[in-house]
Amino acid sequence: MGLLTIDAENLYYRDLNAKIKEAVRKQNIKKIIIKNARGQRFIGTGLQEKDVEIIVESGVPGNDLAMFMDGPTIKVLNNAQDGIGNTMNNGKVFVHGDAGDVIAYGMRNGKIFIKGSAGYRIGIHMKEYKEMIPSIVIGGKTGDFLGEYMAGGIILVLGLTKDENPIVGRYCATGMHGGVIYLRTDKVPTYLGKEVKVFELNEGDKAKVKELVEEFCSEFKEYNSNDILNGKFIKLIPVSKRPYGRLYSPGNHFPLPEENYFSNKKVDIEKYYY
């Protein structure tokens, strides 16, 4: 039938992951339901099958959920811990609750949706290349260092939770040199990284945000996409591809020679003295 239910109570993480891998790779299982997750780590690690769905129905999965994952979809019907989607290459993760720290570290592609809030250091060094653009949507707020060193990808923070905290913490986007961060707020965060500037969203941005919000609401049905999209959004993008270019001694730039000694014996003295 392609469905497997695992009771993870008292199951060591290595055994749980071995069961999942065996089911997906050898028994052609397409849907796995895990009950009573007790903080087992690395769930989803090493899986490359795109049509597999893993649902953590009860309990809380452990750190590094979907780490190195390359295709499947994971849904957690509860809170989750740290390191979700660490160096993830493809696939989707939905968390019906809050998440921990260091989500999406070095993420390369795929999508992560967190209904609630997340901790600090989200989206560090996310990368993108051509059509591989990772994205992460957080329904609540985040802590410090959001999008640090970001090199690509999309972070969208909606700030929908009813607490007094600012939408993002301090040092947001410090060291950012690629990618884009959208925040649903009208207040520019304090202590913003000096590599970014705040902009209004253009049509392309609005389309991207709409797509992500609609997917967010289709999973987390208590939210309405129109209400969310009617709010005010700001966009943070880096103003330089080379934020550290001026910091180091100038490497003398030697362009590819178009002519050389043999084609043109006349000395172009410019290129010799610099």
């Binding site: 290595r14 891998k21 780590r41 690395f42 690690t45 090493g46 490359q48 750190n63 590094d64 780490m67 190195f68 390359d70 740290d82 390191g83 660490n86 160096t87 290459n89 260091v102 570290y105 070095g106 390369r108 250091r121 560090i124 060094h125 990368k127 993108e128 290349y129 640090e148 060193y149 090199a151 690509g152 060291g175 040199h177 690629g178 591809k241 080379r242 934020p243 550290y244 270019g245 001026r246 910091l247 180091y248 001694s249 100038p250 490497g251 730039h253 030697f254 590819l256 020679p257 050389n260 000694y261 043999f262 014996k265 006349k266 000395v267 410019e270 290129k271 010799y272 003295y273 610099y274």
Partner: protein
Amino acid sequence: MKFTFSLKPENFIIERDDERCIRCGACVQQCAYNAHYFLEEKNKVLGINHNCVGDGRCVAICPTNAIRIRQAENPYRPNHNWSKEKMMDLYEQAENGTVLLVGMGAPTPHPVYWDKIILNASQVTNPSIDPLREPMEVKTYIGSKPDKIEVVFDNKTKKPDIKTKISPQLELEVPVMFAAMSFGAISLNACKSLAKAASEMGTFWNTGEGGLHRDLYQYGKNTIVQVASGRFGVHLDYLNAGAAVEIKIGQGAKPGIGGHLPGEKVNHEISVTRAMPEGADAISPAPHHDIYSIEDLRQLIYSIKEATDYEKPVFVKISAVHNVAAIASGIVRAGADAVVIDGIRGGTGAAPKIIRDNVGIPIELAIAVVDERLRKEGIRNQASLIAAGGFRNSSDVIKAIALGADAVYIGTAALMTLGCHVCGMCYKGICNWGIATQREDLTKRLNPEIGAERAKNLLKAWKHEIQEMLGAMGINSIESLRGNRLNLRAVDIHEPYLSILGIKPAGA
């Protein structure tokens, strides 16, 4: 023509024997730093000393051996405190206000302990062994060894078999591997040369933090893939392509700081392999942001083991700094299959000069203390010890093994087989030998057919020399030498370094 007033003196002087110079122009055409030019009006080839970096390309290419490069004398008054180098660095910072960058390993005058350690030879009571006539084992296995082995005998055939499950191991034909040098820091042709040589020689090469180029997947069986803090090019196929995975926490040339590949060097091939936009700086942050404690390191090690189905050994590479013994102990307990320690002489493509020259300890001392501490704690077998940082010949390798290492990584030595003259200008990205550059007109100068042959020659020669030295010591298997410090003696090393190394002075 620029007329800026500058205080920069010259480092090298180009001496051309005008009688021998046939004005062929090869030096002009070959020097990427534009240190030679042809003055048609006088029918002479002249040199611009300020541009010369002393990398020997013109000397080698000149068909009549007409060029000699000489080190420029110190133009300043002799001053033990204010050497020419210190003065030049200061002038450069006064002009630009920037962090000084530099390439290759620290040239500082710290003592090189390898040159003060000598080996034993067997003579009367313990006969020496001739490796040409008797079997000599230099094969090495890298990985976690079990605490004990349980042997069972088959009921019917009575044949023995090992019941204990052995962790995955790497099999090396010679205890020397090529160190981690990323594609980006070096050219693809250089990577191909090392990969090919490692495959043919039965040892391994390391991808460094730049990911694995698609042309190199064919050498996967002999590749150690590296996961650095930037996680460049890291995905499941990459992890599964290699024979082992190495987590890079730090490197000897720049302990404590991250990596930095300038945007000029990020061309199309690099951007595909690293999955990042062309022309952007490739920055690896200083720490892995998911490792803030030793427990986090354990988590990362096991996440990689989980991702590779526990089939590959996982190494952890650190710089050798203060307390390297304690850190190594923590790493072994965190579950690593090998600890890699990189000393202060380790090379780099680009590092701030002030960090490279001042941070880190000599690898000789690091090997000794790590080996000692792991043995004392009874965990030495749980991880192999690989040493890196300035190994120059096979005697350095043997001495490292005698001090306690399992195997050795060579970086600078490997690049020298490809033509590197250690001029240290790698960060400029216009290496004349086609090694530390991505410019196509320069990388074509390194033919992997020749490079692989030369790298393989070096390993072959060292393997044979190791066999000779082992035979001279009366040992026929390199395992018997590992950690066997009684076979070493010291000349001109004083306390406390003598005790730290754990060897006796010669004569004692």
